[in-house]
């Protein structure tokens, strides 16, 4: 009986897939359904009450949530602006024949991605200290500026988070684009050379279109990563309570409601709004980029 089963070619694939199915049902579908149900409920320890769309209507009028939503959205847009074109251009430069010390620079740029957010947060929190003696205030002093209270003010606090993101992810995104560049056939550039194309034209009409799959991939993961940013802000501001909520993100608000205030129902609604916004942006983006047309 056992022997017949382990030699059975029909049953085998399902046995192989089984661990995924179990984990998927237990730790993905089930929490997903739970969060949808809870978002229509008032959840208190020991009691749950159906309240319809109350959590969602409350969210719309919740000024703090709108602050969190705006912060996350702003952060996502800025990470897209900074962390797609710049790494792409850096990848093209480092890939060119003129580059010396390619491997060294690739590693050097990648190193920040190896650090934990905990460590990165500690470094940035104190490098952006508000004292005149902190690293970044010494830097701005070189340009004749007075010291900033970096983490107390909305704009500068936001800049700290962006600098942290650029520090950690520039090298990683550059590697993505480098691996994309490897897939571009060299003949395209050769024939462009014959036609007398200049560097800009080659970049514009060969590199950018050919890199499109990589760009779409980086764009897709960056959209959710930007919208779901939380732990960076948590570390830099030493907790979830930044002055005037300047560092509060959607997930930060979810954490505050769900973990700190134990309002699981309300927090679930926050999570689902994030899920829907991210999904919508990505679907629109993928559609505009024509990903669905190809049929793979």
């Amino acid at each position: 009986m056992v022997k017949r089963f382990i030699y059975n070619k029909k049953a085998a694939p399902y046995v192989f897939i089984l661990p995924f199915i179990l984990v998927f049902l237990l730790f993905f579908i089930s929490p997903m359904i739970n969060t949808v149900i809870m978002s229509f409920e008032d959840v208190l320890p020991g009691s749950r009450k159906f309240v319809g769309f109350e959590n969602y209507t409350k969210l719309l009028g919740d000024k703090v949530f709108l602050v969190a939503l705006w912060n996350s959205f702003k952060y996502m847009i800025w990470t897209l602006i900074l962390l797609i074109p710049i790494p792409m251009i850096l990848a093209c430069i480092i890939d060119s024949k003129l580059m010396v010390g390619k491997e060294f620079f690739k590693s050097a740029l990648y190193l920040p991605a190896l650090t934990s957010v905990a460590v990165a947060g500690i470094i940035f929190r104190f490098a952006f200290g508000e004292q005149a003696t902190s690293l970044m205030n010494q830097v701005v002093a070189l340009f004749g500026m007075d010291p900033f209270k970096w983490l107390k003010n909305g704009t500068t606090g936001f800049i700290v988070l962006l600098v942290l993101a650029c520090w950690r992810w520039t090298g990683v995104n550059m590697l993505y684009f480098l691996s994309g560049l490897k897939n571009i056939p060299g003949e395209l550039y050769e024939s462009a050379d014959i036609d007398g194309a200049n560097t800009w034209q080659k970049f514009r009409y060969i590199t950018i279109p050919q890199l499109k799959p990589t760009t779409i991939y980086v764009l897709t993961i960056s959209i959710y990563a930007g919208l779901a940013m939380f732990i960076e802000s948590y570390m830099v501001f030493n907790g979830n309570n930044s002055p005037n909520n300047i560092g509060l993100t959607i997930v930060g608000y979810l954490y505050r409601q769900g973990i700190e205030k134990n309002a699981m129902g309300y927090a679930s609604a926050v999570g689902l709004v994030l899920f829907v916004i991210g999904m919508a942006i990505n679907l629109v983006q993928l559609k505009l980029n024509g990903t669905f047309k190809k049929g793979d």
């Binding site: 192989f16 010396v100 920040p112």
Partner: protein
């Protein structure tokens, strides 16, 4: 014909030499650009390193900077770390244990699942694979609250099992292994069957050994994520004796902890193992990291 080729190569060699001379300013410019970027990206590490020799409370009070004042610097923090009773080594070994446990389980189970996806055709395969892609796309933060509820219902809070279970069949690892296995001819599996091996015997004895290179790439990537992970372990673990290094470092940052001397040394030693791994296995880092992007 032959002379023609050699003539051509001579010509191109000449052309190269000419372009090298002409491009020298460009080369220097590009090199300088990357040197400056690398310098900026590496300064935070340097700042952290310098800070490990400074008095912790003073760094907190003045902010981090790059100044070296040997009169005020000492090995005191390292002395405290190695001679006085402290939690850092407990956290360090907790992190190490959790990382190894998580990576071993993840790799083994994900490889098992990926084999099912790559080597069999069965009903529901496409749908299930779309589920894998879907899990990859949804950020963990959205599910963290219901997942946390579920883990506490299962009485798994404050345990390492509770941390590793939800991602034990890691979607991105499955995806990577499946890509890798698609390159292995199915004839090999068929040959195993003809030799009388069972379906699972083929996987364990025939396929697993072939997968070694892909294991290296995923082991390193997953180990890095696991070693650096902060959010989920922070939710699950309650008991400071079980904390991992990133959680521990975060607790050192609170105003109640007066262990500022350990904060920077601790951050520094948490970065070291990943750097060593990176230096030894750089190739695999890049391979694992960019696996998703190549196919788009």
């Amino acid at each position: 014909m032959q002379s023609n080729i050699s003539l051509n190569s001579k010509k191109s060699a000449q052309k190269n030499a000419v372009s090298r001379g002409k491009n020298l300013p460009k080369r220097i410019l590009i090199f300088m650009l990357f040197a400056i970027i690398a310098l900026i990206l590496l300064i935070p590490f340097y700042t952290l390193f310098i800070s490990t020799f400074k008095d912790g409370a003073l760094v907190i009070a003045n902010g981090m900077d790059v100044s070296i004042n040997t009169a005020k610097m000492s090995f005191k923090n390292y002395m405290i770390l190695f001679t006085e009773k402290n939690s850092l080594f407990t956290w360090f070994f907790n992190s190490l244990f959790l990382t190894i446990l998580q990576v071993v389980c993840q790799l083994f189970i994900s490889a098992f699942v990926a084999y099912g996806f790559a080597m069999y055709d069965f009903k529901g395969k496409n749908f299930l694979f779309i589920c894998v892609l879907f899990v990859m796309m949804v950020p963990f933060e959205i599910l963290m609250l219901p997942l946390y509820n579920q883990i506490s219902d299962m009485h798994l809070t404050n345990s390492y099992i509770g941390i590793i279970l939800p991602t034990i069949a890691s979607a991105s690892t499955i995806f990577f292994f499946r890509q890798y296995l698609s390159g292995i001819p199915r004839d090999l599996v068929e040959a195993g069957r003809i030799d009388g091996a069972s379906e699972y015997g083929i996987f364990f004895r025939l396929i697993l050994p072939i997968m070694k290179p892909s294991f290296a790439a995923m082991a390193i990537l997953n180990a890095m994520f696991s070693w650096n992970n902060l959010l989920w372990p922070m939710l699950v673990l309650k008991d400071s004796g079980k904390f991992t290094l990133p959680i521990g470092l975060n607790t050192l940052l609170t105003p109640y902890g007066n262990n500022y001397n350990l904060l920077f040394v601790g951050s520094f030693i948490s970065v070291i193992p990943v750097f060593i791994l990176f230096a030894c296995f750089q190739k695999y880092f890049v391979e694992g990291m960019t696996a998703g992007a190549v196919k788009g």
